[in-house]
Structures are given as structure tokens and as C-alpha cells.
């Protein structure tokens, strides 16, 4: 009985806490969505208006005046490829750092940290000049290269953490049965670390999707990504808050849809190759 009672209290506290957290995290987005469908005079009203006549004029203006779809596809293509490549490369590297013993392992991990630590601007100008000379500025390839390179340190570190948590025995037994290291990775470790790999991919996807500094500086009109286009649209002094909210809402939507499906897909893909016990 006591056990059940403690559990009940524990659960109530947990769920109340969760509810409060949900309110905190969701409210700004909710407020932004509300603002985006308000009439201009309602937007600035104090006390704030909760019940009002909604209007879609902000969205209409946004979608008619902005070439939203083009930038969406640029962002989609560049980000997806970069993250895919970076995740594959990082998985291999992280497996090595988690499982193999070799000289300079700590050194390697530390230097990855160094690359991660340096603020983006330190890379920006030399890269811009280099890209200019190689004539790859304002190309999708140029953006993908830098996105991939910037993602690898982070991904490797996180995947290293996941791989280390997985006990070695399963792989050892698989290898005794004649599996190669690569096979062990794909058939034993990845299925177990699937949630971790998926999360890492999703997180790096989001970060890369939202990155502003590099696309703004290294890219031009041909490779304009969505955040850059949105920024340009929003910082125009003639934009009002209502429209800004509409654009902001529209930007979040595709990413949201994407990751809702991506999570399942990635985990499924990784676990389907699992060695059955």
C-alpha cells in the first residue's frame, strides 16, 4: 500500500511538473501563432486580447510576396545531405574512439573539441576568401562542405558518449562468430544506439537548418537558405509584428513535420539490421 501511495505522489508531482514545463516551452510559440492571425490593431492591445476575430492576411502577404518555396528546398537539400554525410562519418569515427585503443586518442578527441570551441566568426573570413578563390562560394557544394565539417566534432563527441554506454560483450560475441568490426558496428551497436544516433542526427539537422552566419556570408542569391531569406524579409523596416510572426511560424512548420517522421524512420532503419538474440 505504501508503495502505491508513494508512487501516486511521485507520479502526480512528476506530471504536474511536466505540465508546467509544457506551458513554459509552448507558450511563446503559441503566442506567436496567435499574433500571426490577429488584426493589426489587436496586436499591440494591452491588456492582451485572447478572443478575437482571426485573419489570414499576414500569411497571405507572406506567401505571395516571398519566394518561400524556393528557399525551403535549398535549405532542405543542403541540410539533409550535410547531416547524412556528417552522421555517417561521425559514426565511424566515434566507434573507433569508443572501442579501439590507439595512441593519441585523447589528443584526437581534444582537438575535435578545439574545432568545436572556436567561434564561427574565426572561420568565416578565411573561408570566404578560400571559397572565392576556389569559386565555390554561393554554391550548394560550398555550403554542404562547411556544414558537414562543422557538424563532425559535435556528432562524434555525442556518438562517442552513446557508444561507450553500450556493453562490449555483445559485439565480442558477434566477432567471435566471425563478424568484422564494421559488421559489429552495424548489426550490434547501431540497433542498440539507434535512439542516440537518431537524436544526434535530428539535433544536428536542426542546428544546421537554423544556422545563419555561414549561409549569410558564404552564400549569395543562388543558395539562399530559409533563415537568411526570413531574416531579410523580417528586418525590412516596413514589416510589422503580425507579418513577422506569420513568417516565423511558417519557418518552424516544415522542420517540425520533418523531425516527427524522421525520428521513427531513422530508428527503424537502424534497428532492422539487428542481430536477433
Amino acid at each position: 500500500m505504501k508503495r502505491k501511495f508513494t508512487k501516486f505522489i511521485g507520479d502526480s508531482v512528476s506530471y504536474t511538473f511536466l505540465a508546467c514545463a509544457l506551458v513554459f516551452f509552448m507558450f511563446p510559440i503559441f503566442w506567436m501563432l496567435m499574433t500571426s492571425i490577429k488584426q493589426p490593431q489587436d496586436t499591440f492591445a494591452i491588456p492582451p486580447i485572447w478572443v478575437f476575430k482571426p485573419t489570414l492576411q499576414n500569411y497571405i502577404k507572406t506567401f505571395i510576396e516571398g519566394a518561400y518555396y524556393k528557399y525551403l528546398f535549398v535549405s532542405l537539400r543542403v541540410t539533409t545531405i550535410s547531416i547524412f554525410v556528417a552522421t555517417v562519418i561521425s559514426t565511424l569515427a566515434a566507434y573507433a574512439t569508443a572501442r579501439f585503443r590507439f595512441k593519441g586518442k585523447t589528443g584526437l578527441l581534444m582537438s575535435l573539441l578545439v574545432f568545436y570551441t572556436i567561434p564561427g566568426i574565426a572561420y568565416a573570413i578565411p573561408l570566404y576568401m578560400l571559397y572565392g578563390q576556389l569559386k565555390i562560394q554561393d554554391t550548394p557544394l560550398g555550403l554542404m562542405i562547411i556544414f558537414t565539417a562543422l557538424t563532425i566534432p559535435f556528432s562524434t563527441w555525442v556518438l562517442h558518449g552513446y557508444f561507450v554506454s553500450i556493453p562490449k560483450d555483445l559485439e565480442d560475441s558477434a566477432m567471435v562468430d566471425g563478424c568484422t568490426k564494421l559488421g559489429a558496428l552495424t548489426r550490434v551497436v547501431l540497433p542498440l544506439a539507434a535512439p542516440g544516433v537518431a537524436s544526434t542526427a535530428i539535433l544536428t539537422f536542426i542546428t544546421t537548418w537554423n544556422s545563419f552566419l555561414y549561409p549569410a556570408i558564404l552564400a549569395g542569391s543562388r543558395t539562399k537558405t530559409l533563415p537568411v531569406a526570413v531574416a531579410a524579409f523580417i528586418t525590412d523596416t516596413r514589416i510589422e509584428w503580425g507579418q513577422a510572426s506569420a513568417v516565423a511560424s511558417a519557418v518552424i512548420l516544415p522542420v517540425l513535420l520533418l523531425i516527427m517522421f524522421a525520428q521513427r524512420f531513422i530508428v527503424m532503419g537502424l534497428t532492422s539490421g539487428a542481430v536477433k538474440e
Binding site: 511521485g10 516551452f25 569515427a93 558518449g161
Partner: protein, 291 residues
């Protein structure tokens, strides 16, 4: 036949090669370039002039730098504390099975999706002292309305709140994935042995999660130390220099003033500080390794 140890070396190399190649080619050159640049003075009008260590000496005498350092330190400490704690608690709650769990998890991830621009707009609108919703709630609770991003006392705090809002889901997501990798049998065995919730946490959850916790802690610390986007979008480092962080300082020196030499030096000092902190973390808590 090739000896076993050489075969092992080759294998190791094969796994590491792609990563090392990409980074060496793409990131090392700019990094070295920036390092070299830190020994020069650069202005658009006068170009490059070699000045040796002068940039670094100037940093030591730069009071704005110290303010930025202090702000960064305060920011990082508080933000990490809150995010790790909150993230850990939420991850544990979400690890339980309850109806609508997937939806809740999806919803909680939404703050992460907001790019700095979007997040900056949303929060600027809410923080607006005249018609922002935050001051409305604050006054409803009979507390004095604040100028949030325009008041030196609250500017940094405003940035911290936005960062916590945006990145706690990040911590939660990574820790949750770690929790889900813990085999259920461990808990079942512990329950059979009569372990209560607290002991389960102490002896199963935390040890298993330790590598992940360390990695997340390390990465978030480094992210916070070089924080730029949230602060720049929200306050620009102001008012005055009350919310200036090292990342914003390096940016303004580099891209607004175009004092590239000085900005490079600041970037390297920033990197140095972070590396020292990382070494400290790793040494004192031991690199996540399972023998």
C-alpha cells in the same frame, strides 16, 4: 600475412580517416589562418601590420573584455545548472510510459526548432516593455514591470531565459535517448532485490548515463561559453555592455569594426579558456571510458 597489430592499425585508420580528412581540409586552414592573423593588426583602411603579441597584451588591459568574460561566466554557470537539472528531470519523466508520451515529447522539442532569428523576434515581442505579454503577466502578479532587454540589470537575465527555453529540450532529448538505451532487465532485477526509486537512480540510472551526462555537460558548457546568436539577436550586447559576452565581443570586433587581428586574438583566448575548462572536466571526472 600482415601482422595483427598492423591490421588493427589499418582498421582504426579506416574508421577515423573520413572524419580526419574532412576536418583537416576544411577547418584547419581557416584556423591556422586565424591564428596567424591574431599577431597582426588589421583595419580596412591600413591593411595588415605585424604587431606580434600586442593584441594579446591589449586584451589583458581591456576592461570591456573583462566585463564580457564575467558576463559569459555568469551566463554559462546559471544556464548550465538550470538546463542540466531541468533536462534530466524531464528526461526521467518522459521515460515513463504514459498516454500521449510521443506527442508531449514532440511538443517539447519545438523550442529547439526556432532559429535564432525567429526566437529573437518572438522574445523581443514578448519582452517589449510597452505591449509585451511578459510585462502584462508580471503586472498581473503585482510585480513591477521591467524593461527586460533595455535595462542593464535584466538584460543578461533575459538572454539566459531565452537560452534555457531553447536548449533545455536539447539536453532532455539527448539524456532521454541515453535513458532509453538502459536495458529494462537492470531495473527489473533491482526491483526484485527490493530497490526503491532513489536507489534505482543512484545505482543504475546515473552510472549508466554518466558518459552521456558528461558529454552533454561538456558540449553545453562550450556552447554557452561561445554564446552568440541569442544574445546578439536580443540585446546586441547592450545596453552599454551589460549583456556583452565573449562571442558577441569577438563578432563585433571582427565584423562590425573589422579589427580582424584583435577579433582573432579574442577567438583564440576564448578557445583557450574553453580547452582549459574541458581538460579540467575530463581530468577530474575521467574521460568516459568503459574498460
Amino acid at each position: 600475412m600482415i601482422s595483427k597489430s598492423i591490421r588493427k592499425r589499418i582498421e582504426t585508420f579506416q574508421f577515423l580517416a573520413p572524419a580526419i580528412l574532412v576536418i583537416a581540409v576544411v577547418l584547419v586552414y581557416p584556423l591556422l589562418s586565424t591564428f596567424r592573423l591574431s599577431f597582426f593588426s588589421y583595419t580596412i583602411a591600413r591593411g595588415l601590420r605585424f604587431i606580434g603579441l600586442k593584441n594579446y597584451l591589449d586584451i589583458l588591459n581591456d576592461s570591456t573584455f573583462y566585463t564580457a568574460l564575467q558576463n559569459t561566466f555568469v551566463f554559462t554557470l546559471i544556464v548550465i545548472l538550470v538546463e542540466m537539472t531541468l533536462g534530466f528531470i524531464l528526461a526521467n519523466i518522459l521515460n515513463k510510459d504514459f498516454p500521449g508520451r510521443a506527442i508531449v515529447r514532440g511538443l517539447l522539442m519545438v523550442p529547439m526548432l526556432a532559429s535564432p532569428i525567429v526566437s529573437g523576434i518572438m522574445w523581443r515581442f514578448m519582452y517589449n516593455p510597452d505591449f509585451g505579454i511578459i510585462n502584462y503577466f508580471v503586472t498581473q502578479l503585482n510585480l513591477p514591470a521591467q524593461v527586460w532587454t533595455g535595462d542593464p540589470k535584466t538584460a543578461l537575465l533575459s538572454c539566459m531565459i531565452v537560452d534555457i527555453w531553447q536548449y533545455t529540450p536539447f539536453v532532455m532529448l539527448l539524456l532521454l535517448a541515453g535513458l532509453q538505451s538502459i536495458p529494462k532487465e537492470q531495473y527489473e532485477a533491482a526491483e526484485i532485490d527490493g530497490a526503491g526509486a532513489i536507489n534505482k537512480m543512484r545505482f543504475i540510472t546515473i552510472p549508466w548515463l554518466r558518459p552521456m551526462i558528461l558529454v552533454v555537460l561538456l558540449l553545453r558548457t562550450m556552447d554557452s561559453i561561445k554564446i552568440f546568436d541569442q544574445v546578439y539577436a536580443l540585446t546586441g550586447g547592450g545596453p552599454g555592455i551589460s549583456s556583452l559576452t565573449l562571442g558577441v565581443y569577438a563578432y563585433t570586433k571582427g565584423f562590425r569594426n573589422f579589427f580582424l587581428g584583435y577579433a582573432s586574438a579574442i577567438s583564440w583566448v576564448l578557445a583557450l579558456i574553453t580547452i582549459l575548462i574541458s581538460i579540467f572536466y575530463i581530468r577530474s571526472i575521467k574521460l568516459p571510458e568503459r574498460e
